[in-house]
Subunit: 331 residues, 2 copies
């Protein structure tokens, strides 16, 4: 198994990305191709043990976070994210992991590998850690305006991913809305509900904002505008939580003691809600395997994303998804 | 000042609602009319001191949480929420506070008092507590499908409310989107951005999910679908946080000690993010003053909502809003 890692993508590239790749190699026993400017990547790798499992693929360009994805892809034929997907297309790699410009990653994947049959819109599936296990939130930003049929396809794709890759048997699927009753929500949601209700998915109906982190449902479907707000709000809340807990506890004599004593428990709790620790978000609906990581990913997040990519390949998720798209009449 | 309180609305009505009214009377020196079934309300009031400032207005009916608002309002002419707004219309009360069916509260307000001139769609403004002070999120559920002009009117109304009632001088206004750049977001947001940019509001551009609780901006504008998801997700996150902290800390020997020592600091932190403690959500854009409270409101939340209603009346927010709607060319 060969995973192409975009060594130039992310706020802490290439250093933390390379560190994550090194950790993944030693833990997972896979091969990694570091795609990027060879001199810079080799410097970052300097001193790390590779066990002969890490190779380089040089390219000159990188698409920066603030660049317009389509414009940048047209201009920079030799950008690391584009070259990484080329390696999958030519069969030299099995998957791509990138913490770079997520719009460019999505666009490069679609341009290079194409959409799966039966999928109108590829989508990004966020994995949120909750008390009741991971929850798949789809879409978290690829598609801001969706038709009901797009939402239904998101559900079918996430179903194949969650059952094959996260080990959730017959996952429950909910449609994010603003009331549990059938008539609630906007028009898009009301019509999508009919498609889900007729399908063979384990559909439990509408779910609300308060259900997202409750672990009540395994898969939550929404458009990419709502999903992106939810993902970033969760991220912001965890950050605010960390700041406030530390300040509140440090601000009182008893609190300082509590922080010392309870440190492990409190940080365990924050980590549990911290999606960055969970790795990346799979790109569903393309003819291949791609993971989009947070720009600020730690080495651990990169390693975890590589781990999911490996499971994605090993568990033949693409084949299962193709079958489910066919039998669910999502096409 | 007379505030009509829907004594029958809410999960803990009439007991906690009456308790909140009693507390408000003693703290704020106002008069309250408890609207509801007199025998039940009088029982709940039994033993509480009223200082002669609490009166009853009997009505037979109540609209339950799960009822369809419009159907219920047509059928139940003598429902408490409807009667409460009738008291405002006839000049016997200055404001309404209800923790009952929020759809019915909104509909009763619009039917009885009508929309303000220049407002196409009244909206519900959630008040979220953050580290940097309260943030007004508008709309949190009244309007699921909005035109750009509706979003702009929400911003103008919230501006009048936040400056007059929350004491925020020249509040900053942000448009909730999924990227800060001008071209980001869905079509509705891109077009609304142009209206805001041309206005005399203190508009800072797009904000993202991670900015909602950061205190970076005073007013955040979005449609009622997104706003409701955000409000309930925040509510759910606070609840999950409380459960996890308690369980994590109680699950370890050191953690148990930490909980004992740090209890005050930890609960102080949770309270800071807990919007229920902040009272209710003002209904903006109707010809009158109405506060919608969470169904599970505590007595303290009811009291705080009454407090905001009193400020709304005392600070002549309606007059200022009328003027701002006119000068901002929102009509």
């Amino acid at each position: 198994m060969n995973v192409a890692v975009d060594a130039m993508g992310g706020d802490y590239a290439p250093e933390l990305v390379v560190q994550g790749a090194v950790d993944a190699v030693s833990e997972l026993g896979i091969n990694i191709i570091l795609v990027g400017h060879e001199k810079r990547v080799a410097e970052a790798l300097n001193g790390h043990p590779t066990g002969g499992r890490i190779s380089f693929h040089h390219c000159e360009d990188v698409i920066r976070m603030e660049e317009s994805p389509l414009k940048a892809l047209r201009k920079k034929k030799d950008a690391s994210i584009r070259v990484a997907f080329d390696l999958v297309k030519s069969g030299r790699a099995d998957a791509v992991v990138s913490a770079g410009n997520s719009g460019a990653t999505l666009a490069a994947a679609v341009m290079t590998l194409g959409r799966m049959k039966g999928v109108d819109r590829p989508a990004i599936a966020g994995i949120l850690p909750t008390e009741g296990g991971p929850v798949v939130l789809i879409d978290v930003g690829a598609n801001v305006d969706c038709r009901p049929s797009h939402l239904f396809q998101f559900g079918v794709m996430a179903n194949a991913f969650a059952s094959s890759c996260l080990g959730i048997n017959n996952p429950t699927v909910g449609l994010l809305s603003i009331g549990e009753e059938e008539g609630k929500g906007n028009e898009q949601v009301r019509l999508a509900r009919e498609l889900f209700a007729k399908s063979d998915l384990n559909f439990i109906g509408n779910v609300e904002g308060r259900d997202i982190l409750s672990g009540k449902v395994n898969i939550i479907v929404c458009d990419g505008f709502v999903g992106n707000v939810v993902l970033k709000l969760t991220e912001g809340t965890v950050a605010a939580m960390r700041r406030v807990i530390e300040r509140e506890l440090m601000g009182s004599f008893l609190g300082r003691d509590a922080l010392m004593l309870g440190q492990n428990a409190i940080y365990k709790f924050i980590r549990r809600l911290d999606y960055e620790e969970h790795g990346g978000a799979p790109l569903l609906g393309i003819n291949g395997v791609g993971m989009i990581c947070h720009g600020g990913s730690s080495a651990k997040a990169i390693k975890n994303a590589i781990h999911i990519a490996v499971q994605y390949v090993n568990n033949r998720v693409l084949e299962k998804m193709t079958l489910q798209l066919k039998t669910s009449k999502a096409c």
